[in-house]
């Protein structure tokens, strides 16, 4: 009894340190490596020219931010991803919903879309540049194509796998077609939809880099190319770090925005 009591008390009110310790565990490896590298360069074990130490990357970031250049590039890249994501999600959702709902449309459209999906999307670049020019439209289109397929597949699969028994409940309550979609199908596919959006967003970030590497005068991808051509590895790593931060942030925003609608989920990953 005397042994069990303190253990139970600890379980009820975890110490603040313990509460934050678990998420912090993931930082040990990257932060440890960064510090080790910084020390190695400071001690003269390496000149850090090709692999710049964290302090030099930070200095580059600060410098870019001070001139307002960083903000401009970030803004351009983010707006490209946003536009491409919006178009890709709209088209992917529509196509996925229609093909998931109707077997006829699925037989009609799905083989073509699957064939298009198997084309490496970068292969479209020359064609898009011919069709749409070298400015924004071709880049946004490329990103939209990248976003389209995971969203399309996710939505189609989700609609097709909605539990027939739940749909029958809708029929018993004599829901109309649109009511059935709004009150049964949409909520039922929402968890899978959020996952599809997140993988679509991930691909959007991948494709924006491809688009910007292949010819751009601004954007984070341009910073990469510029850093390569002018031999500034710190700038390349700085751009990569910014990509990672923004990519992770947008993904977090998406899943956080969706979380209130998914509180009902009864799943393995939701346990404490």
């Amino acid at each position: 009894m005397s042994l069990a009591e303190p253990a139970a008390a600890a379980q009820r009110a975890p110490r603040p340190l313990a509460r934050y310790a678990k998420p912090m565990l993931g930082l040990v490896l990257p932060v440890g490596l960064a510090i080790a590298w910084e020390i190695a360069v400071r001690m003269g074990l390496s000149d850090g020219r090709l692999v710049p130490p964290p302090s030099r990357i930070w200095a580059t970031l600060v410098e870019l931010a001070a001139t307002g250049e960083l903000q401009r590039h970030v803004l351009v890249t983010v707006s490209r991803v946003a536009a491409g994501f919006a178009f890709g999600v709209a088209a992917g959702t529509l196509a996925g919903a229609i093909t998931g709902y109707s077997a006829l449309t699925r037989r009609l459209l799905d083989p073509t879309l699957q064939a298009l999906r198997s084309i490496p999307s970068i292969a479209w670049v020359p064609l898009f540049i011919l069709w749409l020019g070298i400015f924004e439209s071709s880049k946004v289109t490329l990103i939209a194509v990248g976003v389209f397929f995971p969203v399309y597949l996710g939505v189609m699969g989700a609609v097709m796998s909605v539990d027939r028994k739940i749909v029958e409940v809708g029929r018993v309550f004599r829901l109309s077609g649109t009511q059935m979609v709004r009150r049964i199908l949409l909520p039922a596919v929402l968890p899978a939809y959020v996952i599809a959006l997140r993988s679509g967003l991930g691909l959007g970030w991948m494709f924006v880099v491809a688009a910007e590497l292949l010819g751009a005068s601004e954007g984070l991808g341009y910073l990469l190319v510029d850093g390569q051509q002018l031999g500034k590895p710190a700038q390349i790593v700085a751009a990569i770090v910014v990509f990672a931060v923004i990519g992770k942030t947008t993904d977090w925003l998406l899943s956080t925005a969706a979380a209130p609608f998914l509180r009902w989920e009864d799943r393995f990953g939701a346990r404490a």
Partner: protein
């Protein structure tokens, strides 16, 4: 509100004749139990009556109104609760009342939840309910619509014995409120006798009504009484006989291979 089932047959697309020539009139407020071995078409019959499936022969009518699709006066409770996991318990119960004013909906939901004893669960997600609680919510969801006919498809078969007996009594209690017509499909003979005014025994391949047994016992029924036992024996005997044809076929198969081949 007489439920009239006349000469109903259902053949599925794969040519399986699930039920055939079923004729049955159920009086308003009557409780009818349908029992039979598995695969005898009990559930098919219930789905046809609910309007979820259409018969290939004959028709079902509620007060002369042919049932070809789900009807507002016919409710159904399935073997599984089939609650919508994204709605709270209260919203699940009020699912069919979406077109009613908010105040009326809230009031009816609260009253029905009170009747099934789950007022304290109104705002939890279905995942937090036990099996028995979930099935009570499913009952409440059907009853809140004030159906004239309530169909129950093996509603308590997935529950443990104690919960099942509990819910059978509870169902009778709820039934007494508005006395809807109940058609309950079950493979539990005790359940049929506790609940029903009339027990229909079905025989398989294709499903037909084999016997009809009146249960003229006062409610609440004493599960230990001699009269209850007698009724149970009558139903059991009819069930045995309903499966007889299959027994003979099995016999034929073992004694004469050639004959069995001919039969198949």
């Amino acid at each position: 509100m007489t439920l009239a089932i006349s000469h109903v047959g259902k053949t599925y697309a794969n040519f399986v004749r699930a039920i055939d020539g079923i004729t049955l009139d159920v009086a308003p407020g009557e409780v009818v139990a349908v029992v039979g071995g598995s695969g005898c078409g009990k559930s098919t019959l219930l789905r046809v009556v609910s309007g979820l499936d259409n018969p290939t022969q004959g028709n079902v009518a509620l007060d002369g109104d042919a049932i070809r699709s789900p009807h507002e006066k016919i409710g159904i409770v399935f073997q599984e609760p089939r609650l919508l996991p994204w709605l709270t318990v209260a919203d699940n119960v009020g699912f069919g009342l979406a077109d009613r004013p908010k105040a009326e909906r809230a009031e009816r939901v609260a009253r029905q939840l009170d009747r099934v004893g789950l007022t304290d669960k109104a705002n939890v997600w279905p995942r937090e309910l036990s099996g028995g609680q979930a099935q009570r919510v499913a009952l409440a969801r059907a009853l809140v619509m004030r159906p004239e006919v309530l169909l129950l498809d093996e509603p308590f078969s997935a529950l443990d014995a104690f919960t099942r007996v509990d819910l059978q009594d509870h169902l009778l209690d709820l039934w007494a409120d508005t006395k809807p017509t109940l058609v309950i499909v079950t493979h539990d003979v005790d359940e049929a006798i506790v609940l029903a005014d009339r027990v229909l025994v079905m025989r398989p391949a294709p499903g037909r009504i084999f016997a009809e047994i009146e249960i003229a016992l006062e409610r609440p029924r004493d599960r230990q009484s001699a009269a209850y036992d007698f009724a149970k024996r009558r139903v059991m005997a009819a069930l045995d006989r309903s499966l007889e044809r299959k027994a003979i076929t099995d016999d034929g198969e073992t004694t004469s291979e050639h004959g069995a081949q001919m039969w198949w």
